[in-house]
Amino acid sequence: MAQAKEFNLPDDLYYDRKEHIWARLEQDGVRAGVDAFGACAAGTVAYVKLSPVGRHVQKGRAFGSMEAGKYVGPLKAPVSGTIAAVNQEVLGNPGLLNVDHYERGWLVVISPSNLRGDIADLVHGPDVQPWLETDVAEYEQKGMLKKEEERQCT
């Protein structure tokens, strides 16, 4: 587990270093969601929309969109493929993205079309810790993250 300040990022997952989208390789496909740091920086998530099952998505292109206190923007696919499952629970309760990042707060499962190539540039394993530390420091320096004492992130 990588940790910086209050943010925990399991190092067995793969991360898009810019979008803070996590990807978990599972038997049925790649499960994806927003990591703890990304969700905190975005603020309280109020709305989420996701592409329907069966839609093809490309790595780096949107598979959904999210509106939070400090962010309105796309959710970008960590890998290319076809949407195999959509988390209906999170559509009805977007706040799950802020409290249960890696379990109930998952967004979609993608059946990958080029898994090996697509995960090559995702952060994984021992690289997660230094990347997280650098990103947290950068966000704090740029004022893109609330001060530590004002944050209420899990």
Binding site: K49, P52, S65, M66, E67, V72
Partner: protein, 419 residues
């Protein structure tokens, strides 16, 4: 073949560095009698308690700046003009106006308050480089990405891709009778993406040959114009006009009143019919192509500022809702020319989101008082702020766009089904 942008067309807007105010506006600055009627109309003033956010206060501060800049004493002693602090105070007030235009209805000397407030912002943002920081980011987002959110513009039609029954050719049409210009808020904010989804379905059920520009649709220019950066909006306007010419559409439909207002007021476009969704749906009702099942709720309607006071479109939405609900439609108080602002206008949400929320609380208070179970709106930004405000209050009242209402209760005839 040269495109419009390559041909460098004549400027659409005057350069505020040369002349910030028109002759009429200079007269208006002088004509204000400080009667205070505009304060009665001003929601920003009610929240802030600072006269400087009202038009009367802005005019007073601007007059003082004129005096200080032109003072003989200052010139004799070779002192600089008005202080930076005085300009900053004036700027703060000018950017906390929602540009709702409600004060224009109350002003006894007929000042075009909204245009004057925009001219003040033009002077501040463009001529004096005093653009507020958050608006600076919004400008960069529009100019770099083509939308107010700084979202990759090629994802503009994502809301349509969320539909599981999206017609295969919709995003690739090269020719169409009607262009649906969706606008940034509807395209990108998941809080209101049901609106374009519903309006698109209404258009398809009505048998309209419609196209979307998808990633080739650029911001209409409204946020830049009201932020005092009209000159920066010209490139967007020419781009959008070129795209509609290429498509060959003879009608453009909008669900966003601010886009509609901008096109009607600033786009040099002849021979193309422009319609807001409320007008389009009212036309379907009038022609008998749209009938309604009885609603299961009492409805009221909130007039969006840019549609109502901006373009005097008051009757079409009421024709639709009266046809739908009959006696189950109740008029909001106040409404029409005196309707309350949702707080989301004039770029105020970008500059001061707390003020926007407090202004919205007055609207949601009026909605609750009306006794309606559903407030129908005709603006994505109004819906975005109002549903958030209602939710924050724990209210049971729902906000629905008129296109969602038409889809939920509508029965389409003449070959269009009702599934």
């Amino acid at each position: 073949m040269a495109t419009v942008t390559e041909a460098q067309p004549a400027p659409l807007f005057a350069d505020p560095r040369q002349r910030p105010f028109s002759a009429r506006q200079l007269l208006e600055l002088d004509a204000c009698t400080r009667c205070g009627e505009c304060l009665r109309a001003c929601d920003s003033f009610r929240v802030k308690g600072d006269e400087g956010v009202s038009l009367m206060g802005m005019i007073r501060r601007r007059r003082r700046l004129f005096r200080e800049d032109g003072s003989l004493v200052r010139k004799l002693f070779r002192r600089d003009g008005a202080s930076d602090e005085a300009w900053s105070r004036y700027q703060e007030g000018a950017f906390e106006c929602t540009l709702c235009g409600r004060c224009e209805v109350y002003c006894p000397v007929g000042i075009k308050t909204r245009d004057l407030a925009i001219a003040m912002r033009q002077e501040l943002s463009t001529a004096r480089c005093m653009l507020p920081q958050n608006l600076d980011r919004a400008r960069d987002a529009v100019l770099e990405e083509g939308n107010i959110f700084g979202y990759p513009n090629e994802e503009r039609a994502l809301w349509a891709e969320f539909l599981d029954d999206l017609p295969a050719d919709l995003l690739n049409k090269e020719q169409a009778d009607v262009l649906y210009f969706v606008g940034c808020v509807s395209s990108f904010s998941p809080a209101v993406q049901e609106i374009p989804q519903a309006f698109l379905r209404v258009l398809l059920k009505a048998g309209v040959d419609v196209a979307l520009l998808a990633g080739e649709e650029w911001c209409c220019g409204f946020p830049l114009i009201v932020g005092g950066l009209a000159n920066d909006a010209e490139r967007l306007i020419h781009h959008n006009i070129e795209r509609i010419r290429r498509l060959g559409a003879t009608t453009v439909v909008f669900n966003c009143p601010s886009c509609y207002y901008t096109w009607r007021r600033y786009y040099p476009l002849e021979g193309v019919r422009l319609m807001h969704s409320t007008e389009f749906i009212a036309e379907l009702v009038r022609s008998g192509r749209l009938k309604f099942r009885p609603p299961d709720a009492t409805l009221t309607y909130h007039d969006p500022c840019d549609l109502g006071r901006g373009l005097s479109v008051y009757d079409p939405p009421r024709q639709v809702l009266r046809a739908l609900a009959g006696d189950a439609y109740v008029e909001l108080v106040p409404s029409r020319e005196r309707a309350l602002c949702c707080g989301g206008g004039g770029d105020v949400e970008i500059w001061d989101p707390e003020l926007a929320a407090e202004v919205n609380a007055m609207l949601t208070g009026a909605v609750e008082k009306s006794g309606a179970q559903v407030v129908v709106q005709g603006c994505p930004q109004c819906k975005r702020t109002t549903q958030r405000g209602l939710s924050a209050k724990g209210s049971s009242v729902r906000s629905m766009d008129i296109a969602e209402v038409a889809l939920a209760y509508g029965v389409f005839t003449d070959g269009a089904d009702d599934d």
